[in-house]
């Protein structure tokens, strides 16, 4: 049985006051017609007071527990009512960890039947951990004079993972590791892909001898192949800044990009590490496989803006996070100077670095006046100059506007890296 609490309806008070006023006026003036004036209000009150209190029992269940951005949590409610039918409003909310209500679903049911079943769907626009605390009930009679409130406890936690975008080919790393993977190594060795021929030297396997070429040459020629190797990728998520506009969050958009990159690199059998670089630094050491993807997605759920006044620099990143020849991709709106400094420090330490710059303009309101528009343009020019400076150092910077396909920016990054000079060794 669902406990219902009687709520004070404004209509009940209003009709009580108006009916009483008419009766008092009748008593004060001694005129019978004033009784007739107050009678309609008293009839409504008498009608509603004769209606028995609704008795409700039922269950509610919210599912699924795990879903991706844009999905919906559906709360199925089954109610059984006894007594005179009432109209009922069901309401359930999706509550973020901060207490902010991010979505609400409302359904109005005419309880003309004894058994009612309905489904309340709340869409989850952004990644994160959310709670579905309860289903709130609000019942009232036909006139809305008597109201009753109650709730069915759910206490369900929902995890909304970022919806990873399918990327056909990620930016190729400049250096590879020793394990087998899908990236072409710069070195020659055992592999499938043909790289060229050279003269036979003792130690070469006889099966590598190119018979046709050797028959036309004075010496034996052997085929060379490119070994397919994996690489270490470190994805840095800038949590110094979280711009919010119209329910969209720049941090959630950046997490979406990180999830997409992690997904594609792990599918290429690379080892992927993750670091949340902000007021507090959190990290996951490089690993491979679907389990690592699950770990990264879980870490992304907890990524949020954390203010801290301590200076955060490259020395806060553990050395194990950045293995030799690792490819570091920073996903950042490049607003906070500390992230830019981190990218420059990585470059100075000869790390293969690229920046996926999340355009902050998509998370800012439109300029309202001429002065604001001019300031915005000046800021855009300044940002463009900073981007050019990074590119002049050989650091690939791709600007991504949230809502546009990520794949185009990734391809631009790849083209820049292929076209730019080989970094210093």
């Amino acid at each position: 049985m669902i406990p219902l609490r009687a709520a004070r309806s404004p209509k009940l008070i209003a009709y009580l006051l108006l009916g009483s006023a008419a009766m008092l006026a009748a008593l004060a003036t001694g005129h019978g017609e004033l009784v007739a004036v107050g009678v309609p209000f008293l009839i409504v009150l008498t009608w509603t007071l004769t209606i028995p209190r609704p008795a409700l029992s039922g269950t509610a269940a919210a599912a699924p527990e795990l879903l991706t951005e844009g999905g919906a949590v559906t709360t199925e409610v089954r109610l059984q009512s006894r007594g005179t039918p009432h109209r009922m409003e069901l309401r359930t909310s999706l509550v973020a960890a901060t207490g902010e209500i991010v979505g609400t679903a409302v359904d109005t049911l005419p309880l003309s039947r004894r058994r009612v079943a309905t489904a309340l769907a709340v869409s989850c626009p952004q990644l994160g951990r959310y709670g579905v605390p309860s289903v709130d009930l609000f019942a009232e009679d036909v006139f809305g004079v008597l109201a009753f409130t109650g709730h069915i406890d759910l206490a369900r936690t929902v995890r909304v993972y970022p919806a990873a975008e399918l990327l056909p080919s990620p930016p190729a790393p400049r250096h590879t590791q020793l394990r087998t993977g899908n990236h072409r190594s710069r070195a020659r060795g055992d592999g499938i892909e043909y790289a060229g021929t050279r003269e036979f030297v003792p130690g070469d396997h006889i099966r590598r001898v190119n018979a046709r070429l050797s028959s036309r040459s004075p010496s034996l020629q052997v085929n060379e192949h490119v070994p397919e190797r994996n690489t270490d990728i470190v994805l840095l998520l800038d949590t110094f800044t979280d711009l919010r506009e119209a329910g969209r969050s720049s941090l959630a958009a950046a997490a979406h990009a990180v999830a997409s990159l992690a997904d594609v690199y792990l599918a290429e059998r690379d080892r992927v590490g993750f670091a949340e670089f902000g007021g507090i630094v959190r990290w996951l050491l490089p690993g491979s496989g679907r389990m690592q993807l699950a770990r990264i997605l879980e870490a992304l759920l907890d990524a949020r803006l954390r203010l801290h006044y301590a200076w955060t620099g490259i020395d806060r990143l553990p050395p194990q996070l950045l293995p030799p020849n690792a490819f570091v991709i920073a996903v950042s709106p490049l607003i906070d100077g500390r992230t830019r400094q981190l990218v420059l420090d990585l470059w100075a330490r000869r790390r293969d670095t690229a920046v996926l710059e999340l355009s902050p303009l998509a998370f800012m309101p439109r300029p309202t006046g001429r002065k604001e528009a001019l300031a915005r343009r000046a800021w855009a020019v300044e940002r463009r100059a900073e981007r050019r400076e990074l590119r002049s150092l050989g650091i690939a910077v791709g600007e991504w506007t949230y809502g546009e396909p990520l794949v185009e920016v990734i391809q631009d990054l790849d083209h820049f890296r292929r076209a730019s000079a080989v970094p210093r060794r």
Partner: protein
């Protein structure tokens, strides 16, 4: 016509009816009617349900003032005036979404309209019976006592029901 506009129109109509019923005190009644319309309009715009109560009370006061100046003859249109006030209040509350969820549910709308019709007809019938009775016994103190007792019973019943309802909500251990 939206419920708010219809409620305002009925408010004005009730003011006019109260003025027509009034005798020498018509100026005061007109003033009260105008204030009631202004309060209703302001309240519906700012979505304050108290405005419906205040404007209804002002119109009842206007009618009572008109009745006080009138002769002993019982007004036969008093039940219609009461129904007009009820409809004004209902439309005002509908404009404030009370009862809720009415617009989106055709079945609820039909039930609501049926209930309002029943209440209006019952009010007219009961009011006319009262008026006839008052006319027969001359609007005397007996009828007033009867009306006062009925009102007291209705109000006490409401309060008792509310008190019982809140008592039932306490956990068993605290009872």
């Amino acid at each position: 016509m939206t419920p708010a506009v219809a409620s305002l129109a009925l408010c004005g109509l009730a003011g006019v009816a109260a003025t027509a019923h009034a005798g020498d005190a018509w100026r005061t009644v007109v003033l009260l009617g105008l204030i009631a319309v202004a309060v209703q309009a302001t309240g519906l715009r700012s979505r304050r349900f108290a405005a419906v109560v205040v404007s209804g009370a002002l119109l009842i006061a206007a009618y009572a003032m008109g009745s006080a100046g009138a002769t002993d003859a019982v007004d036969p249109l008093a039940p219609a005036y009461g129904v007009c006030l009820l409809l004004m209040a209902e439309l005002g509350f509908l404009a404030l979404s009370i009862p809720m969820g009415l617009s989106g549910d055709p079945q609820a709308r039909r039930r609501y309209l049926r209930s309002v019709t029943v209440v209006v007809l019952a009010s007219l019938a009961f009011g006319e019976a009262l008026v006839v009775a008052a006319g027969a016994i001359g609007s005397g103190a007996q009828l007033m006592l009867l009306a006062g007792a009925a009102a007291a019973v209705a109000i006490a019943g409401t309060l008792e029901r509310l008190a019982l309802a809140s008592l039932r909500d306490f956990p068993a251990a605290e009872q």
